[in-house]
Symmetry: C2
Subunit: 354 residues, 2 copies
């Protein structure tokens, strides 16, 4: 199989971890006899520094032409500390999501048995958890109109949904639920928000087309609580952009660390694969980042992007094996014991490749 | 001391639990020689059934005249299942918050040693946690304009903040931080939302007036994760209405159960005291609800509303003692052992009073 893959390392620890996601893809191509042709492009702070734009046209063009995108992370402390800056790294990520029509962000909570103890949650609560989040990714308060009054004393963001936006992601989530345990939980705040009432109404309608799937509706505040109280009761979770952002980061504790979770954004064409962790400027360049989420993002690309199930499985199994052998990066090592062999980013990356 | 207290039992388990919050106040009045005069009023579904309105004028008038309000819970499955209903119980709660100017919602995460094991989070992660949330309560996407297009296919809610709204709650939070460990974490989504950028800017300004307090800014997604990864690192947490709704429900797992957490809403005049749990229609009328959050709401009323520290402490200590003696309601009982004496709502209420 021949595929064109665009690598966008982005900011912070993005480049460090993406190196290993890319290397994993190269290795897989070698083993299975595929031809993966790589190109690279800038986005975020890295792009602003060079071109003045968080998403240069060249990047977008390359993205449109590629079969899949492997992305690192975005963001920089400079902008976080100065809310008044007009050009911001995150605009690049939001724009590429919108331009490529990446309306469905899939975030599987993959639980490696070996990492049960790395979580702050009790192992007996976690064991057996298997959640697949469908986060809507191109609507909501992320993309609604933003205003700032002239005196700068009032600011607003419009939380807005159109019925078709809810429908298309709901279909994807229900189809996935049919392949899994046939349970779907839709999360909203319909007791307060009109956009959530549209969300709930629409999901109730779509649900009728999937009578084999059992639907539950839950308020976001309750969901944020239930998710850690009893994660096993969730299977497919369908939610809006902002609520999905919050819930999936929270859910990373179920997997032991943010450094373990990958996500796939799909929609109209090219798929976009990235770790759910951020740019983590505090550990950038220190060889402390966990490259496994990028390697698992590569696995998602193989599986969801290219339909290469065996290839994806080999990557996931290899990660599992490395963990079983007791190797850990800092984020998933249990500091209180020295049962583990703690590795830097590069050592961990190399080990998985071997 | 003479005080007029309005009791608003509300919906679902509201009446069952509020009975015990009120009884606790009566007992305290008796012991300390205060005169608490009680009145009662309707709100939510309970009010809609009788008057057609979720917040009848009579309730609002009584509320304005009282020195403090003890509230139960709001909401009913009927409305949750039908997003198209126009008159909704929650409108009553939102309206009374707005009308009474209750802009600051204080949610202390009170951790009873005895309940460390009732949480899904590991006891060693929890031990020593002591967080005080300041949730903004009369702004944000809760109160911004709501629209629904004529064809009903588009719905929106305006997420909006004015600088003065952020300032006044920031001052309250910083003042509390000065009385505690002098650490404040402000939570927003300034990398995406303009209203969050105003929030962050404003908090940065106010921070200068409290140089003895160390300020941290955190994105909501990260905060949702850090809160369960390492709750001990938080002290005062300051956040917007929607983010506060989500984070505090999540934080209820730190305290072992939602059934243990009380909140105080304060602002321009009369304080409003309520459990953070909801109406829980699934267990309504089954004598399963935990009355302790209502009793602890009464304690917050005594302390924050009336400045009666000894009286509040007696209530909290009594709850602690009952837990030490091994008494539990269902939500905080560890079902796997039978070390506990599991009580119904009424038995637990009576026990605390004794
Ligand atoms: C960096 C930020 C804009 C982004 C988001 O909020 O979507 C990130 O948190 C994510 O979840 O991918
Ligand atoms: C019932 C609902 C409107 C309310 C809210 O979202 O504020 C509740 O969840 C709370 O936290 O008090």
């Amino acid at each position: 199989m021949k595929k064109n893959i665009l690598v966008i390392p982005g900011d912070g620890i993005g480049p460090e971890v993406t190196t290993w996601g890319k290397a994993a893809l190269e290795k897989i191509a070698e083993i299975f006899g595929h031809e993966f042709v790589f190109d690279e492009a800038l986005m975020g702070h890295a792009a602003i520094e060079v071109t003045g734009e968080p998403l240069p046209d060249e990047t977008l063009e390359k993205a449109r032409k590629s079969d899949a995108i492997l992305f690192g992370a975005i963001g920089h402390a400079m902008y976080d500390n100065d809310p008044s800056l007009k050009v911001r790294p995150e605009q690049g990520l939001l724009k590429i999501r919108k331009e490529l029509g990446l309306f469905a962000n899939l975030r599987p909570i993959l639980l490696f048995d070996e990492l049960l103890q790395a979580s702050s949650i009790k192992p007996e609560i976690l064991r057996g958890t298997d959640i697949l989040f469908f986060r809507e990714l191109t609507g909501d308060v992320y993309f609604g109109e933003k205003t700032r009054s002239e005196d700068r004393n009032t600011a607003s963001d419009l939380m807005i949904y159109h019925r078709y936006e809810v429908e298309r992601i709901a279909h994807k989530a229900y189809q996935a639920a049919q392949q899994r345990s046939k349970k779907l939980c839709s999360v909203d705040k319909a007791n307060v928000l009109e956009s959530s009432r549209l969300w709930r109404e629409t999901v109730q309608e779509i649900a009728k087309q999937y009578p084999d799937v059992e639907t539950e509706h839950m308020f976001i505040d309750n969901a944020a609580m239930q998710l850690i109280k009893n994660p096993k009761k969730f299977d497919v979770v369908l939610t809006a952009n902002l609520f999905g952002d919050i819930l999936t980061d929270e859910a990373s504790q179920i997997a032991g660390s943010m450094g373990m979770l990958a996500s796939a954004s799909v929609g109209e064409s090219t798929g976009f694969f990235e770790p759910i962790h951020g740019s983590a400027h505090d550990i950038t360049g220190k060889d402390l980042a966990n490259p496994l989420a990028s390697i698992l993002s590569a696995a998602l690309m193989l599986e969801i992007g290219f339909g290469l199930k065996d290839e994806a499985k080999l990557l996931v199994d290899t990660v599992d094996e490395v963990l079983k052998e007791g190797f850990r990066t800092h984020d998933i090592a249990d500091q209180t014991t020295n049962r583990f062999k703690v590795l830097g980013t590069a050592e961990m990356g190399k080990l998985v490749l071997k």
